[in-house]
């Protein structure tokens, strides 16, 4: 285990832990009114002692908003990626492992969905379901599924052709046992890496939906919503974009570092 305690892994893990803690604890520590209180006299103030991260176009404190936005953004991203893995993983494995007509039918379906930009797909679903946090999660999760299924299918196809799968087949392993014992463990590293990258895209997708009025609804705050609303004030108050942007960037970076470490921890070859 000591092998994995490198600076990279500690930083990644540290930031992820801090972000999750903020997402969980902030609403208990910070009264919601702190983030929604509008002081029109204090509009677009640069960072100061009173407002650490400055204020937005309505004079709301960006520090409190970014803290409270963490929960919305991380919940939506985490749950959406959870949905896409839940559906994409079995879909990809079944398609790649069994091949043949199963593969052809499933992948043409996936190709159809992939031909729409993910955001457009999420937008359509969200518009049909109506704007709310659960619906945002569903729409992003569904929109990301074909992408993940496609990648996992490729990996499952590779794994299915490995001699150890044929060897297991020769020893009488088949179907479900084969998938659980041999295919899944060998596909998992890719799922972890892809999953952490997808989290980053999901945060941005939520931002996009919020911008179009279909994601998080004001006055609730989310990082995506903050970035999108800052658009009109970039020249006069760049911090309105930089603060939530930095939060997204930091989280994505940490998640990627964390994902790499997680993959290594799960790989017996990396252990000594």
């Amino acid at each position: 285990m000591r092998r994995f305690l490198t600076p990279k892994s500690l930083i990644g893990l540290g930031i992820v832990v801090i972000m999750v803690t903020i997402a969980v604890a902030a609403p208990f520590v910070i009264p919601a009114s702190f983030a929604t209180r509008m002081q029109l006299a204090m509009r677009l103030q640069p960072p100061s002692a009173a407002h650490w991260f400055g204020t937005d176009q309505l004079g709301r404190d960006l520090f409190y908003r970014v803290m409270l936005g963490a929960r919305t953004s991380l919940t939506i991203a985490g749950a959406a990626v959870g949905i896409s893995v839940t559906f994409g993983l079995p879909l990809g494995i079944i398609s790649g492992y069994f091949g043949g007509w199963t593969d052809i039918v499933l992948m043409r379906l996936v190709d159809t969905l992939l031909s729409f930009p993910a955001l457009l797909l999420a937008l359509t679903i969200s518009a049909m379901l109506g704007p709310s946090v659960p619906n945002t999660i569903i729409s992003i999760g569904v929109a990301f599924t074909p992408f993940l299924a496609r990648i996992i299918r490729g990996e499952a196809l590779r794994v299915a052709q490995m001699p150890y799968v044929e060897a297991a087949q020769a020893t009488g392993t088949s179907g479900f046992a084969m998938i659980i014992r041999h295919v899944l463990p060998n596909v998992l590293p890719l799922v972890i890496v892809q999953g952490t990258i997808s989290l980053a895209f999901a945060i941005l997708a939520e931002a996009g939906l919020s911008f179009l009025g279909l994601g998080t609804q004001p006055p609730q705050s989310s990082w995506g919503l903050m970035i999108q609303t800052s658009r009109d004030f970039l020249d006069v108050a760049p911090w309105t974009a930089l603060v939530p942007g930095a939060a997204v960037a930091l989280t994505v970076l940490a998640l990627n570092m964390f994902g790499d470490v997680l993959r290594d921890v799960l790989d017996p070859r990396a252990q000594r």
């Binding site: 490995m162 020769a170 020893t171 009488g172 046992a177 014992r181 017996p268």
Partner: protein, 610 residues
């Protein structure tokens, strides 16, 4: 042709030491290696994997630095074309570039990966000529053509415009040699140039390298793991082990009177084609440190027992799909009307070159691929007609050991779980009994019990192959198909694994279908031999009959191509040209003629009309 011993050496290596930087500090890859090569001389550096032989050759090219290595000590005195002697270890990068591919040529192991797939053969040949010799493009093209003629490639004009994938493996390696020879190097380094090739192509390539050496008076540094190739090629030999030179000397001395234990062990482990002449039963491999050769009693000659496996008119074809609708446009006839039977407790070897269908034949018998026609009967099971449920049951009786011990074990599962898998699948054992059974299997294949909880990557190749054998043994099968199971192993390890297989056969009465391309190994382990060519068995019979009285022209050419690990039995050195394989792809609906055999002596059958 003798080396020109009166001439000064072209390369003189003294006390070469190469270190690699790793996480755990520097590791010495090569330690105090010294040798020299004169014009017209071939020096073979021989050793098993990890012996440092490739590191040595890469150091001469100064390519070792690209792999994280560093020459920390030693002198590599190289005499350039203009007579100037330089130390390659101290040469700057720019001079090295002028030497590489110009004064020192190199041939790599894999002809497919050492050629660039997106450039034509002509372009790859002309590149070096234009750079090093500053030839105009017309002159370079003319010289490229001349080179292809020199390596005896048919239709050289057409080849220049072709891409690597359009050429066969042997042809590609000839191109690689032509590229290495393009600038008439003074030193040619050949790093396992024939390891990836079939034995007939190997014979062609070895003869070619030898001829080019004699014609051009080059010094040749030949790296190989194969003692038989050494015996055929070398003037002098350097034996390496764990980065150090164990023994060096003229080839005849090394083979006739090795002075070091390691050399002796290495030579003993190599099976020599023809050494089983006059013997009836398979024999253990010699492993130094073990008792002398004894015929294993139970494997001794016995009247042909009742057949365990009989295969009749087996044909396996793969569809070649084309067009959008994935219609079958042609078929690869991988196995074509193959019949044989295998007795209980005996070994039948399927031998042949790559693409002859021997592996597909083994897989068809286990139904890992579906055959198209024929009957397979294994101890009462009619394998081809079994339902999915029955097939699973029948698989208890037939197991397989694969070629690559690295790829045939799941990297994410503990060894105990992998060996236990058949026990669970067939409901043979449960609970703590599984652990006991697997531990007993580990004892059987001579693996320490503390390996049970380890993962595959923690084991060496030979140890992994033992795990694979333990897994195959777990359901107590009657038949084990061993598909090139020892080909990826070093000779000493190969000998141990072969001995293990033979012991298991003697103790448990298992029948082996032994699939191999290595004639010398096959001669050692088989009771019966079937030679395959283009999907058909061209000759089948008792081992002695096939090896001592080969009748089919293909069997003869195959046997004549095998290098023998004895420098006094060198093959003729003129260029050899074996008939290239024809294509096994036929249009849908094509029905080839059935295999008809002439019986030479009882049990010795030869395919008629070839």
């Amino acid at each position: 042709m003798m080396a020109q011993l009166d001439l000064p050496p072209i390369i003189e290596v003294s006390n070469l030491r190469v270190a690699f930087e790793t996480d755990g500090g520097p590791v010495v890859g090569v330690k105090d290696v010294s040798f020299s090569i004169r014009p017209g001389e071939t020096l073979c550096v021989v050793g098993e994997s990890g012996s440092g032989k490739s590191v040595t050759s890469l150091s001469l090219m100064r390519l070792v630095e690209f792999g994280g290595g560093r020459i920390t000590h030693g002198r590599l005195a190289f005499t350039r074309s203009n007579g100037e002697v330089i130390d390659l270890a101290q040469t700057d990068a720019r001079t090295m570039q002028a030497i590489r591919g110009n004064e020192i040529g190199m041939i790599f192991q894999e002809p497919m990966t050492s050629l660039n797939p997106v450039f034509t053969i002509g372009r790859q040949l002309e590149d070096g000529l234009q750079k090093h010799k500053r030839l105009s493009s017309e002159a370079a093209r003319a010289r490229a053509l001349e080179l292809l003629r020199q390596v005896r490639i048919p239709e050289p004009e057409r080849r220049l415009r072709q891409y690597p994938h359009e050429l066969s493996g042997g042809m590609r390696q000839r191109v690689v040699i032509a590229i290495a020879m393009a600038c008439e190097p003074r030193l040619l380094i050949a790093d396992e140039p024939t390891t990836a090739l079939d034995v007939t192509i190997q014979a062609e390539i070895l003869a070619l390298i030898d001829r080019l050496k004699r014609e051009n008076g080059m010094a040749v540094l030949f790296i190989t793991h194969d003692m038989a190739v050494v015996a055929q090629m070398a003037d002098r030999v350097v034996v390496m082990h764990r980065g150090e030179v164990v023994e060096a000397g003229p080839v005849a001395d090394i083979f006739a009177a090795p002075t070091k234990d390691y050399t002796r062990a290495l030579l003993a482990a190599v099976p020599k084609l023809g050494e089983m002449r006059g013997k009836l039963a398979p024999e253990r491999m010699r492993v130094i440190g073990m008792e002398p050769v004894v015929a294993i009693s139970a494997v001794a000659a016995e009247p042909p027992a009742q057949p365990l496996l009989s295969v009749r008119h087996l044909s396996t074809r793969f569809p070649v799909r084309g067009s959008l609708l994935r219609r079958t446009v042609a078929k690869v006839h991988a196995v074509e009307d193959v019949s044989f039977s295998l007795a209980k407790g005996q070994t039948l070897s399927l031998v042949g070159e790559s693409g002859c269908g021997k592996s597909t034949c083994g897989r068809s018998i286990l139904r890992l691929v579906e055959a198209e026609a024929g009957e397979i009967e294994l101890d009462g099971w009619d394998i081809r007609t079994l339902s999915v449920v029955d097939l699973r049951r029948a698989r208890r009786d037939m197991q397989m050991v694969f070629q690559d011990p690295y790829a045939s074990l799941n990297p994410y599962r503990r060894l105990i779980d992998q060996v236990a898998e058949p026990l669970q699948n067939f409901g043979i054992a449960s609970g703590s009994e599984i652990t006991d059974r697997v531990a007993a299997l580990f004892d059987r294949v001579e693996l320490p019990r503390n390996f049970l909880r380890r993962y595959p990557h923690e084991l060496s190749g030979g140890q992994r192959q033992r795990v694979a054998i333990a897994r195959a043994l777990a359901p107590s099968p009657k038949l084990i198909v061993a598909d090139e199971s020892v080909s990826a192993l070093d000779v000493s390890v190969q000998a141990q694994v072969l001995n293990l297989l033979m012991e298991l056969q003697a103790d448990l009465g298992i029948s082996f279908l032994f699939i191999s391309h290595d004639m010398a190994v096959v001669e050692r382990v088989s009771h019966q031999v079937a030679v395959m060519y283009l999907g058909r068995v061209v000759e089948i019979g008792p081992r002695a009959a096939v090896f001592e009285d080969p009748r089919h022209p293909y069997t003869r050419s195959l046997l004549s191509a095998v290098p023998i690990a004895d420098p006094s039995q060198r093959r003729p050195r003129e260029d050899q040209n074996f008939r290239p394989l024809s294509s096994p792809i036929f249009p849908v609906g094509h029905s080839p003629a059935p295999s008809l055999y002439d019986e030479v002596t009882p049990g010795h059958l030869v395919l008629a009309e070839f």
